[in-house]
């Protein structure tokens, strides 16, 4: 019989509890959660503001989740809808999974921001608006016919306006800051207001401003002044009625940090290198949204990390493969277009059977697609995007902090099974943050590395002989470092026999193709059986992978609280699957798979298990919200 325990921990990393509580209201001064969205022009510093608010809330002890959204242009034309940059943060007094369905508070620094983001705000939500920006020119650029601050169209909301630009300039007047420069600090004015409204402690922000702008005294002074002015303005403007507080969350005891997926992934690679005891080599070519991994790893040369910014993606993966051949953990990081370019070299790695980790931080496709938007549409190319029979393991991370563990797992498989591994992340994970209870370094999983140093075989005349492609019981061939005395040998991408030398023998080819396939399949033996969460007597299984984890967990939680019997599985391993998946998946009446693509995992599961998977798809460059998932899952159940 299939085990189906309730609410168990089912992947490495952070435990997710099902306590997402949309049904409660935010009408009282002490609220369980607030979703604030900071929106303004690309030049308005909204990412910084949101980050700062997030950090203050994290230090205060809230649980949180963030969603940065910015235009693809370095700087889109000021004042236009295309130029709007926004940062949404969900803070709560309990464990949450997503940046939330709809913001309850929108900070709008200009008309375009209001226009773009107002539709997202909950009914009766709070709008905090920089009235100075609502002049005719800006209104026109945003496409407003009349001024929404005056035409009554915001009647359904709680509107708080402030002439932020002017008040900021005013506050800076005596500091020696030029008015044009002072204007730039208006985001801190907004932050001051919001911090007061939601009772954020201020000291952390002061410290941070001093730290961040060290050496630029005028900037520090201006930002400080603006922040305080916002704080004071809110207090004086009789906004007491709007004030709310969100208490610290009851999180598991421990030390927390607020981390994004790209940083977590980078640290995971460093941790894996430590665990394996061999150096890390990154060969990479910059591409959004993966570049930050290169940036992060480049900082940590004292860990023995070598980063090589290659001339293109092919050289990126090629250099990583060369380093792996030399005994390093060769890693290459990229996004979709780069993964496509690396296909031929990855195929070589499959044929050579060398360790290699290929990280794909997915973004909107096809082609250049939507570089700054998220999507999970590279599963098929990861599984099948090589000519010939070239199977390899694919693993996926599912939350920002989980990227740390996913990276360790990818390295473990690559190094222990001597194979290239594709690790899928996405833009939402890479840029999004969550509070992460830091693991103890001693608890990290070990990674076993063995190099062959003696012949592994006895030749015809009893003399020691060795076979670079002789396999152990996991069908893994040995890792033999160039430089090892007496074991010189040649390998290559042409079909070979166990000596590594070329063989055109038909039977040998058939044997090698099937052995490589069986080798990858055997990795399943090292994957713990997956345990579903939810109701033991569920008839519906919601199965996901990647960054949908938070939204699915929240949606399933809501539905279960309404009495629907349901179970949930989130896959880290997409090839091979966990050993018990077949048994498990067949034990539910309905299997629903939400994906940020046109149903790629659903297709694979159908082929594998011959089950009529219900596929739920969204391909808008944005993650699912729990609310829309609840609706879609209900639809799929009734279907």
């Amino acid at each position: 019989m299939v085990t189906r325990p309730n609410d168990a921990k089912y992947v490495d990393g952070k435990e997710i509890l099902v306590t997402d509580t949309d049904e409660r209201t935010s009408e009282i001064p002490e609220v369980e959660r607030i979703i604030v969205r900071f929106a303004g022009d690309s030049g308005d510093g909204m990412q910084l503001t949101g980050d700062r608010f997030t950090a203050a809330s994290a230090l205060f002890g809230n649980d949180l989740a963030t969603l940065p959204e910015y235009p693809a242009e370095i700087r889109a034309p000021a004042g236009t809808l295309a130029g709007v940059s926004a940062f949404q943060v969900h803070i709560a007094d309990h464990d949450i999974n997503t940046p939330g369905d709809s913001p309850s508070v929108l900070v709008a620094m200009n008309p375009a921001a209001l226009k773009a983001d107002l539709p997202k705000v909950v009914e009766h939500g709070t709008l905090i608006i920089n009235s100075d920006a609502f002049d005719e020119r800006n209104l026109k650029k945003a496409g407003y016919e009349s001024n929404p601050l005056e035409d009554g169209s915001l009647a359904g909301y709680q509107v708080i306006t402030a002439p932020m630009t002017e008040l900021t300039k005013e506050a800076c007047k005596d500091l020696g800051v030029k008015p044009r420069d002072a204007e730039r600090s208006k985001n801190f004015f907004a932050l001051g207001m919001v911090s007061w409204l939601y009772s954020r402690p201020t000291k952390g922000t002061y410290d941070w401003i001093e730290q961040k702008f060290k050496g630029k005294d005028l900037v520090i002074a201006a930002n400080m002044a603006a922040f305080k002015a916002g704080d004071v303005y809110a207090e004086n403007a009789d906004l007491w009625a709007s004030r709310r507080v969100v208490r610290p969350a009851k999180l598991d005891p421990g030390t927390y940090t607020n981390i994004n997926g790209n940083t977590a992934l980078s640290w995971g690679l460093i941790a894996a290198s430590k665990q394996a005891g061999i150096p890390l080599f990154l060969g990479s070519y910059p591409i959004t949204p993966a570049t930050d991994i290169l940036h992060e790893l480049a900082k940590h040369k004292n860990f023995g990390v070598r980063t090589f910014q290659a001339e293109d993606e092919i050289a990126g993966v090629g250099s990583a493969l060369g380093a792996s051949y030399g005994g390093h953990i060769g890693v290459t990081t990229t996004s979709g277009p780069g993964l496509a370019l690396k296909a031929e070299t990855i195929g070589l790695a499959v044929s050579l059977e060398l360790p290699l980790v290929i990280v794909d931080v997915q973004r909107g496709g096809p082609s250049t697609g939507l570089p700054t938007k998220t999507e999970a549409s590279d599963l098929m190319i990861a599984l099948h995007g090589r000519h010939g029979e070239a199977p390899l393991p694919v693993v996926a991370s599912s939350t920002p902090a989980d990227c740390f563990f996913a990276a360790i797992e990818a390295v473990r498989i690559a190094v222990e099974y001597h194979t290239p591994v594709i690790l899928l992340s996405d833009g939402y994970l890479g840029n999004g943050t969550e509070p992460w209870r830091l693991p103890s370094v001693d608890d990290l999983p070990p990674i076993k590395v063995e190099y062959l140093t003696e012949p592994n075989n006895v030749g015809v005349e009893g003399a020691p002989d060795f076979m670079p492609y002789l396999r152990d019981e996991t069908l893994t061939r040995p890792w033999i470092l160039p430089g090892t005395p007496g074991l010189a040998h040649r390998i290559g991408g042409i079909e070979k026999d166990d000596t590594g030398n070329i063989s055109y023998d038909p039977e040998n080819h058939e044997r090698m193709v099937r052995t490589r396939d069986a080798h990858i399949a055997k990795i399943a033996e090292s994957i713990p059986p997956i345990v579903p969460r939810g109701d033991v007597d569920a008839d519906v299984l919601v199965l996901g992978w990647g960054s949908t984890r938070g939204a699915i967990t929240a949606a399933v939680g809501r539905m279960r609280r309404k009495g629907r019997k349901m179970a949930q599985i989130h896959l880290r391993h997409l090839n091979p699957y966990p050993p018990n998946l077949a048994e498990l998946i067949k034990s539910y009446d309905k299997v629903i798979v939400p994906e940020m693509n046109l149903g790629q995992l659903a297709h694979e599961l159908r082929a594998e298990f011959l089950i009529d998977i219900k596929s739920i798809t969204k391909i808008m460059g944005q993650p699912f919200t729990p609310a829309e998932l609840v609706e879609r899952i209900e639809g799929a159940i009734d279907d």
């Binding site: 005891p253 607020n258 080599f281 004292n302 990390v305 070598r306 060369g322 370094v441």
Partner: protein, 337 residues
């Protein structure tokens, strides 16, 4: 690699049958490389050959060293990763004119400018051998091949000019008919720190026979090969009858008697400015005119891997060896009791 050891050619010969066409120029190059290895004093176990795909690229299978026969065009990239990960190894790269200049052109020029410690042997037979005879980026205009039945309309690269334009720090040229010269070039390329490239005129007797016959055959060499010797006036021909001068920036062949030996250009392969080497590379646009052979350029500049290692050391000296726990706590943290 610092230590040198004593080997014989046999120590460098792998157990694989050599599978080039009988008469192929690659045989002579293989032999010369193996002999150069004994003279260099390399250790076969500390040596790795990386190649792409092509007849030339089969090379690693015939060397009793570590070796990787990779994919078409990518050997400089793969070898760069290996060399950076393993500064203790001697990393050699072998490929043909198609492998290195057509599909692999970008990796080659970037390896040049980065000065990764690689010794690159470019077998230039001016044809795609393995795919049975199409014109290559070094084939002459008008060449009739299977893919150019009316004559190639591609203007060829001059590989020496190309790599000089790509900031190469060591550039040499040799040919498959002169074992001694090859051995000398291979040794010097090996000893150079950083990327070194040696163009080898190689005869493909099946698809492009005699491509270099006009200059490499015994009876033509004296008058057609301009041997470059560091610190010496550039002379060639019977009794040095001819020489080279740089005239208004352009290399020209003159009769020595006409200008006098002192007027001849003295070759300095360590000239920090590559312009003269470049001018010399233009001398023969086709192997039907006197062609310089030898070391065009050999200058010292920072080796990529050395600087990389220095950065690692400096980072460690400055910040201490990486501590994972410290890293995990490097962003702002807070405690939940």
């Amino acid at each position: 690699m610092t230590e040198t050891i004593t080997t014989t050619r046999k120590d460098w010969v792998s157990n694989q049958e050599v599978r080039w066409c009988p008469g192929c120029g690659d045989y002579g190059i293989l032999m010369a490389v193996q002999m150069a290895m004994t003279e260099i004093g390399s250790d076969p176990d500390k040596t790795a050959f990386v190649s792409g795909i092509g007849c030339a690229a089969r090379f690693p299978y015939y060397m009793n060293t570590y070796g990787m026969h990779s994919i078409h065009g990518r050997s400089p990239a793969i070898a760069s990763g290996l060399a950076l990960a393993r500064p203790d190894l001697d990393v050699w790269v072998v490929g043909g004119d198609g492998d290195m200049l057509s599909i692999g052109g970008n990796h080659l020029i970037h390896a040049m400018r980065r000065n990764v410690n690689l010794t690159i042997l470019l077998f230039n037979n001016r044809i795609y051998g393995l795919t049975k005879g199409q014109y290559s980026p070094t084939s002459e205009e008008g060449k009739i091949t299977k893919s150019s039945p009316m004559g190639s309309i591609d203007h060829p690269f001059n590989p020496i000019s190309l790599v000089l334009g790509a900031e190469a720090s060591f550039v040499g040229r040799t040919h498959d008919m002169d074992r001694k010269h090859m051995i000398d070039m291979f040794k010097r390329a090996h000893d150079h720190k950083g990327s070194s490239v040696v163009e080898i005129f190689q005869n493909c007797n099946v698809f492009n026979n005699g491509a270099y016959g006009d200059i490499t055959s015994n009876d033509r060499r004296e008058e057609m090969i301009i041997d470059l010797h560091d610190g010496e006036p550039i002379r060639f021909g019977h009794d040095g009858s001819h020489g080279v001068i740089i005239d208004h920036g352009v290399a020209k062949i003159v009769e020595t008697a006409d200008v006098g030996v002192d007027a001849l250009t003295v070759h300095h392969h360590d000239n920090p400015d590559p312009s003269v080497a470049f001018a010399l590379s233009r001398l023969a646009s086709n192997p039907d005119a006197p062609t310089p052979m030898g070391v065009f350029r050999s200058v010292e500049r920072p080796v990529y891997g050395d600087v990389l290692e220095a950065q690692l050391e400096k980072a460690t000296a400055d910040k201490g060896p990486g501590d994972l726990n410290t890293l995990l706590h490097s962003l702002p943290t807070w405690e939940v009791g």
